[in-house]
Structure formats: structure tokens, C-alpha cells
């Protein structure tokens, strides 16, 4: 259980979240994958905060958690608005911005 273990775990989780983001079409699942990626980054921050014996890493984690909560609130609001206007959450159908 070294620093490398935690960093490796964080990288694996980030890769899983990123792959899910590119893979899925449901908008809610896309937000879930974003949460996975944010948590992977949080894990790496916590590992380095402990390794370097500083508090900045944990302060960063708190800020990231707050931003993630704000992002989830706004994202779910956008999802509700999208469902109201399109009656679907399939991102392969909602592509007006694709040009």
C-alpha cells in the first residue's frame, strides 16, 4: 500500500469513468461517469496530501466536492429541461448543437 497503489487505482477509476462517458448515451449516466472521474481525482489528491504531509490536498478535495455538487445540481436541472423539450435523454438523438 504505497503512494503508487493509490495513484494507480485513481488512474484506473478515471479511465473507467472516461470510457463510460464516451460509451453511454443516457444523459443521467453521463453525469454519473463525470462523478466517477471527479472521485478518482479526489483519491489521487488525498494520496498526495498524505504523502507530502500537507493540508492543501484535502482542502482541494473539499473545493472539488463543492464544485461537483454544484455541477450535479445544474446538470440535473439541464437534464430536466432537456427532457421537457425533447421527451428523451438519448444523447444520440439530442444533437442540435452538433451542427
Amino acid at each position: 500500500m504505497t503512494l503508487y497503489s493509490f495513484v494507480g487505482l485513481g488512474l484506473i477509476l478515471f479511465a473507467v469513468g472516461a470510457a463510460g462517458f464516451f460509451l453511454r448515451r443516457n444523459a443521467v449516466v453521463l453525469l454519473l461517469c463525470i462523478e466517477i472521474m471527479l472521485n478518482a481525482v479526489n483519491l489521487i489528491f488525498a494520496a498526495f496530501a498524505r504523502y507530502l504531509y500537507g493540508t492543501e490536498g484535502q482542502v482541494f478535495i473539499f473545493i472539488i466536492m463543492t464544485v461537483a455538487a454544484a455541477e450535479a445540481a445544474v446538470g440535473l436541472g439541464i437534464i430536466i429541461a432537456l427532457y421537457g423539450s425533447h421527451r428523451t435523454l438519448d444523447m444520440s438523438i439530442i444533437k442540435e448543437l452538433k451542427g
Binding site: M1, T2, L3, Y4, F6, V7, L9, L11, I12, L13, F14, A15, V16, G17, A18, A19, G20, F22, L23, R25, N26, V28, V29, L31, L32, C33, I36, N39, N42, A46, A47, A49, R50, Y51, Y53, T55, Q58, V59, I61, F62, I63, M65, T66, V67, A68, A70, E71, A72, A73, V74, L76, G77, I78, I79, I80, A81, Y83, G84, L89, D90
Partner: protein, 180 residues
Amino acid sequence: MSADFCGAREGIMETVIFWTLSTLAVVAALAVVFFKKAINGVMSLLAFMLVLAGLYVLMGAPLVAFFQVIVYVGAVLVLFVFVVMLLNLKEASVRKPFAALAGAAIPAVLSAVGVAALAWLALGERTLAKGAFLPPAPGIRQLAVDLFTRHLLIFELTSVLLFAAAVGAIVISRKEKKES
């Protein structure tokens, strides 16, 4: 707890707990990606968050673990479940074929490798190669003092951001009134 549990000498118990929790975390993350229904994904993410809270405790950051449970499990995931129940999604999202799966995995793996290379470059001078054990973590008191003195401006800005996001979410998701 901080004296002997988080000491420089690692026990076999912590290694076992770490590998168990990390396996559970990866499995839960994969379940989020591969479950068809959104509500199953949300429940898997709940398991993921709880496992990560356990990892934070193992890492000597119990305050982060508390906030993980309170903020994510208590607020964010409840919001997700609320929206999924509210929208009553019936149709399952169609899964892409295998070629698209491979095409999606490539950028993910590339990004992970890129981050790993950056970390390796940035930390090349330090003595990480020995696989040094993690030193004891800073205490909650030191963390609180730092948060409310050196990082006070960021703290206040974050509260403003959270307020703006809450108002924005309400404005976005409410129904538009007719032009009067």
C-alpha cells in the same frame, strides 16, 4: 488512531483492506458504466462512494470520508435518484456496438496514460521509486486552521459558486412562463 494506525509501519491488515476496497471500487465503477438502467447505475455509484469513503479512512483522511458520505451520498445521489424517479425513464439506452466500445476506450486509456506520464515526470526527482510507505496524515485541527486562514478566500468563493449554482438550477429546471 493516528499514532499507530497510520504509522509508518504497515500492517498486513491494511494491505488486505486496501486491495479489497480497491477491487470493490473498480467493480462498482464498471457497474455504473455497464448497467442498462439509470437507477441501477445510481445505486452502483452509491456503493462506489461508500467504498471510496473507506479508502479515505484507510488513507488517514477521516474528515474527507465524512464529507464524502454527507455530501455525495446524502445530497448528490439523492438528487440523482430524485431526478431519475421524476422523469420515469422507461426505455433503456441502446448500447453501442463493440467497435464503438473500442473507440471509446482508446481516448480513456490515452488520457490515463498521459496523466500517469505527467505524474511520473513531475515526481521523477523524488524518492518515490523505493515504494516509500505513506507517512502519517495531518490532523483535522491543522486542516481546519489551514482551511479558514490561508484558504479563506477560496472557501468564500466556493460558497458563492454554490449559491449561484443552486439559483441557476432552479431557474433552468422550472417551466417557462408565458410572455406577459
